[in-house]
Structure formats: C-alpha cells, structure tokens
C-alpha cells in the first residue's frame, strides 16, 4: 500500500521511546478535559471498524473455515512472506552500512541522503510503479541509457520487468524513509566515532568494527527498520497490482469483491500481522537511556 510506508516510519519513533510526560500542564493537576475526551473519541473511532469487521466476518459461520480451505490463501500468504523477508533483508543490508559510512566518513553527504530518502514522499507507490514499468519494459531512450551508466539496458536484457526481484527493489525504495531514519537516529545517539576509534586503535578493521561493535549497538534501530519494512510489504497493494504479481493484499482484494464476510476476517488477520510487527518493535527495539529521545527530537524528522 502506498500509504502504509509513511505511517510506519513515524510510528517507530513514538513506539520505541519513553517521552517525558506531563509537560505543559501545572504539576499536580489531573483534569479530565477536552483533550482526554477527544482521545477517548478518537480511540473509539479507531476501534469500531475493527470490532465491526470481526462481527461482520463471523456473521457467516462458514467464512472462517473457507479461508483456510482456499489454496490461494496459503499461496499468496507465502508469496507475500517471501517478498517481505527479501525486501527487509535487502533494505537493512543496503542502508545500514551506508548510514554508518555516512556518519563516520562523509557527514557532508547527509543532506543528499535526506533528499534521497525524502523522494518516496513525493513519489508514492503508484507513481514509482508507473516509472519502473516504463523503465524496464525494454524501450528506453538513449538519455536514460547514458544516465544510468549503461545499467538499464543491461538489466533490460535480463528481462526483469514485472518480476518479483524488481518488486523487491521497488519495496526497498518505498520503505527507504522508514529504514534510514531509525538507523540514522540510532547512529547519532550512540557515540559512533569514539566507538570506531577505540575499535581501530585495538586493531579492528572496518568490517569487523561494523559487525561486532557498531551493529549490536544500533540493533534497536535496525530491528525497527526491519519490522517496519516487513509490515509495509505485507500490506502493499499498489505496486504488486501494477506488476500483476499475486500477493496477499491482491488476494484479499479479490476475495472482497465477491465475499465481504471472508474479506472482513482476512482484514482482521492483516491487522494481527501488523500487531505482531509493532509488538516486536516495542519489545525488541526499546532503547536504553533517555538520550535517544532528545536525539530523535533534535534530529530532522
């Protein structure tokens, strides 16, 4: 889904830190005021469709078993799982060393990284999909061939248009903001240069420092990034639909056109998947110390 990404990245920061409470109110006054009422109303607004979906899905008693007897269900579910795993791994492996490298060697490149990770906000999934389909369908102009340093024609020869690998690359781009931001925040919060210095002075090389010293320290950020990417890809519909690859959200859409009861139950299942990912972030990406909240707030969003 084109929107899921935007939300995920922001969600990880709020989820994984402990913000100071009670600022802006006189100490000692617990009043039940407009903001609390609004909070209750908003939470009700968010809970009602979930309850309604559960009720609606269970209205038809045969829908629950019919979900599991549908072969498409397991096929698309595992397709989505594979795509999500591949995208997560590629995103983390691509971005983490790069973020560390930028933090360490070329902090001047940070604005460039910010721009590159901000582009997906201006190019949502539908536009990215349209661009990718035209890029790799075999007919590109000489300008593109030149700009891409000859890589686009090379990839075209591999005939990768509308294939899962291209979908994985598209998913990595979509989730770039939410992968880069937590890892970058985490790198800024720990004293990267001092740690690296210490490791170098003890004789460690770059890769060894990265894998054994830096990576364990930024694990919360990496886990946040990974789980966010995973949950985004599991729910992504737009690009898969344009590439005609049969993933779980596409299956969900097809089911919904014919059988809204089953679709409601599958929606609850989708919700549970996201729930598990967010729980994972809360449990495993909790960072110690209060310094990260200031680093997060201070760092550009």
């Amino acid at each position: 889904m084109s929107i899921g990404g935007t939300t995920s990245g922001i969600s990880q920061r709020a989820v994984s830190d402990n913000l100071p409470a009670r600022a802006g109110k006189p100490r000692g006054r617990r009043s039940f005021n407009t903001s609390k009422i609004m909070l209750i109303l908003v939470m009700l607004y968010l809970l009602v469709p979930l309850g309604a979906a559960l009720w609606f899905g269970l209205l038809d008693p045969t829908s629950f078993p019919r979900i599991f007897s549908d072969p498409d269900f397991s096929q698309t579910f595992f397709t989505s799982l594979e795509l999500a795993t591949a995208s997560t791994i590629l995103a983390v492996v691509l971005v983490t060393p790069t973020a560390y490298w930028v933090q360490l060697r070329i902090p001047q490149a940070r604005p460039l990284m910010d721009v590159l990770t901000l582009i997906p906000f201006a190019m949502p999934a539908i536009i990215l999909a349209v661009g990718l389909v035209q890029e790799f369908n075999g007919t590109v102009s000489p300008l593109i061939n030149f700009l891409s340093l000859g890589l686009v024609p090379a990839l075209n020869n591999l005939n990768i248009v509308n294939t899962p690998p291209l979908l994985v690359c598209a998913y990595v781009i979509i989730s770039l903001p939410f992968v880069y931001r937590p890892i970058d925040n985490n790198l800024r919060a720990i004293n990267t240069s001092v740690l690296t210095e210490a490791a170098y002075s003890l004789g460690s090389g770059w890769w060894r420092t990265f894998l054994t010293v830096i990576l364990p320290n930024i694990m919360p950020g990496v886990i946040s990034a990974a789980l966010l990417t995973f949950s985004v890809v599991m729910g992504e519909f737009t690009i898969a639909q344009l590439f005609s690859i049969y993933t779980f959200p596409i299956f969900l859409n097809n089911v919904g056109q014919n059988d809204p009861h089953r679709a409601a139950l599958l929606s609850i299942l989708s919700f549970i998947i996201t729930l598990i990912c967010v729980l994972g972030i809360i449990l495993f990406a909790r960072r110690r110390g209060g310094s990260e909240s200031t680093a997060e707030i201070g760092a550009a969003k």
Partner: protein
C-alpha cells in the same frame, strides 16, 4: 553540529594515524574512498528511484506512438474535465482529511501526552502505530463491514433510530465516505507525529503564564499554539501527502469508481480500456508537483522547528 565537529576531528586523527599523511589534512584518496563507500546505495537509488522519476517527466513530454517530443499529453490532461475533476477531488480529499486528522489527532495527541508514562500510554501509542499502518485494502473491507449497506453501524443506526442512512443518500463509496475512511489512518498518524513535538512545550512556560494570570485559553492562544504551529503544519503536510498518494484504499473500496488522481493514473496505465502512458506520465508529473509543494512546506516548517527549538 558538535558531533560533526567531533567526527571531523577524530576522522582526521584516525586518517593521520592509519594513512601516514600529514596530520590534519585529508588526502584525495581518502575522499575518493569515502565516496566509493556510498556507491552501492547511490547506484540503487539511481536505478530505482531517480531514473523512474526522469522517465516519467520525459515520458510526459513524449508522444505515445511516434516518440517525438510534444505537449499533447498536457493538453489532453487539461482539456478533459474528468482529469481536472480528479485533481480537484484528490486535493480537497487530502486537505479535508489532513485538517480533520490534524485538529482531532492533535487534540488526542495532547491527551496522550499528558498521561503518566506507563502501560496505558504505551498501549495507546502502540495501538496508534498499528492503526496508522492498517491503511490499504484491509481498511477498506473493515469499513465495508462497518458502514457498508449491511455494515454494523448502518444496521445499528437502523435498529436504534429506524433510519437507513443509505436511503438518506449516504454512501461509503462517495467523497464523504472516503473522507471517513481516510481519517481512520490520518488520526493515529497525527498522534504519532505530534507526540514528539509536544515535548517542546516546557511546563515552566505554563506555570509562568498561570502565575501572570493567563487562563488556559489565553495560554494556548498566545503561547502554546504559536510555539507548536510549525510542527503542526509540518505534520499536516505529511498527512496531506499521505492522503494524496493513497491508492489501495480507494481502489479496494470502489475498484476505480471514485475519481481521484491515483485511480485515474492506474486506469490510464493499467486499465482494460486504453493504455495511454503519455497521459499517465502527465498526471504523475502533476501529482509530483503537488506533493513537492507539500514536502517543501514540510521541510521549511521542520527547519523552523529545528532553528528555534534546536538541540
């Protein structure tokens, strides 16, 4: 800033000790290897992010059949009323949901913010994360189950008040139905975006204001809102961009029946009737421009926040 200075100094020292160059001066090979480390990432972004954007812009100026440069696509886009209507619907939908989400989500965020840190607060924040992520196809069907013709709330209203909202003209598959659905993920997104920003309000200011005789309303009007306004506007721009680019929810609801720009692009590029990449590119460029405006306002506001509340 400080960490950058630190890094520069420590980099220089590390450089001098490892490469044997003159202390304090980085050689050209250092800069070259520095850039080399970025190459995989830059290449990936170039191939899959930058070039598609260039292709879209270039394709919008290209004739579909002959490949010759032309502005026909844009003429086509502006001449057909349905295209302009799609933009209008998209923009108003995004503005309305950004405002609704911004106002109500902001108030709810303050409600969460003033809770004591504890399990309830973590639960609410966690739930907001999940709800913000719930957007897309599942949300559409959850709302069909809620406000569809046989949905829970529809039936509830019918049983309690004996009125069928669909008879009154309401439909989930129209503009206002879409507003209701989109607000579902805009609200938690606003909460998540505003929570960090609220920490900018120091309690001392509130106490000082009360000390000088300000009421709650005066405090918010003269102190609270002006301080928070850049963050709130930045958050609402993000909400706008979020809503403007959303495709899956609207598609799952009406399968292309609602005329908003992403649906239109999909129809023109992937539909069963005509395949017109030129028009699709032109529409995409329109979307990109509007989104760039939103993102620029977002960046400008964020810069103000960092300048005045910078740490």
């Amino acid at each position: 800033m400080q960490s950058q200075g630190e890094t520069a100094i420590t980099n220089n020292v590390a450089e001098a000790s490892t490469k044997g160059k003159r202390q304090g001066r980085r050689g050209w090979s250092y800069t070259l290897t520095s850039l080399l480390g970025l190459v995989p990432f830059l290449l990936f972004c170039l191939l899959f992010e930058v070039i598609p954007a260039i292709i879209i812009v270039q394709g919008s100026f290209t004739n579909n059949d002959t490949g010759a440069p032309t502005t026909d696509n844009y003429k086509h886009m502006f001449s057909q009323a349905s295209n302009l209507h799609a933009f209008q619907t998209s923009i108003s939908l995004s503005l309305v949901t950004a405002l609704l989400g911004g106002v109500f989500g902001g108030l709810a965020a303050y409600g969460v913010y003033t809770l004591r840190t504890g399990p309830l607060r973590n639960l609410l924040v966690g739930f907001s994360s999940i709800a913000a992520n719930f957007a897309g196809v599942p949300l559409a069907f959850a709302y069909v189950a809620t406000l569809g013709i046989t949905g829970y709330v529809t039936v509830l209203i019918h049983t309690l008040f004996h009125v069928n909202i669909y008879d009154l003209g309401f439909s989930l598959y129209t503009f206002w139905g879409l507003v209701i659905v989109y607000t579902y993920f805009q609200l938690p997104l606003m909460i998540l975006l505003t929570l960090p920003a609220l920490s900018a309000l120091r309690p001392e200011w509130r106490e000082a204001a009360t000390n000088l005789g300000a009421s709650t309303f005066t405090f918010w009007r003269k102190i609270g809102l002006p301080i928070l306004l850049p963050s709130l506007i930045a958050a609402m721009m993000l909400l706008f961009a979020n809503s403007f680019g959303a495709f899956a929810t609207a598609y799952a609801l009406a399968q292309g029946g609602i005329n908003i720009v992403p649906i239109l692009i999909n129809f023109v590029v992937n539909g069963n009737v005509i395949i017109d990449y030129g028009l699709g590119n032109a529409l995409s460029v329109g979307m990109i421009i509007i989104l760039l405006v939103a993102v620029s306002i977002y960046t400008v506001m964020l810069r103000r926040v960092n300048t005045w509340q910078g740490r």
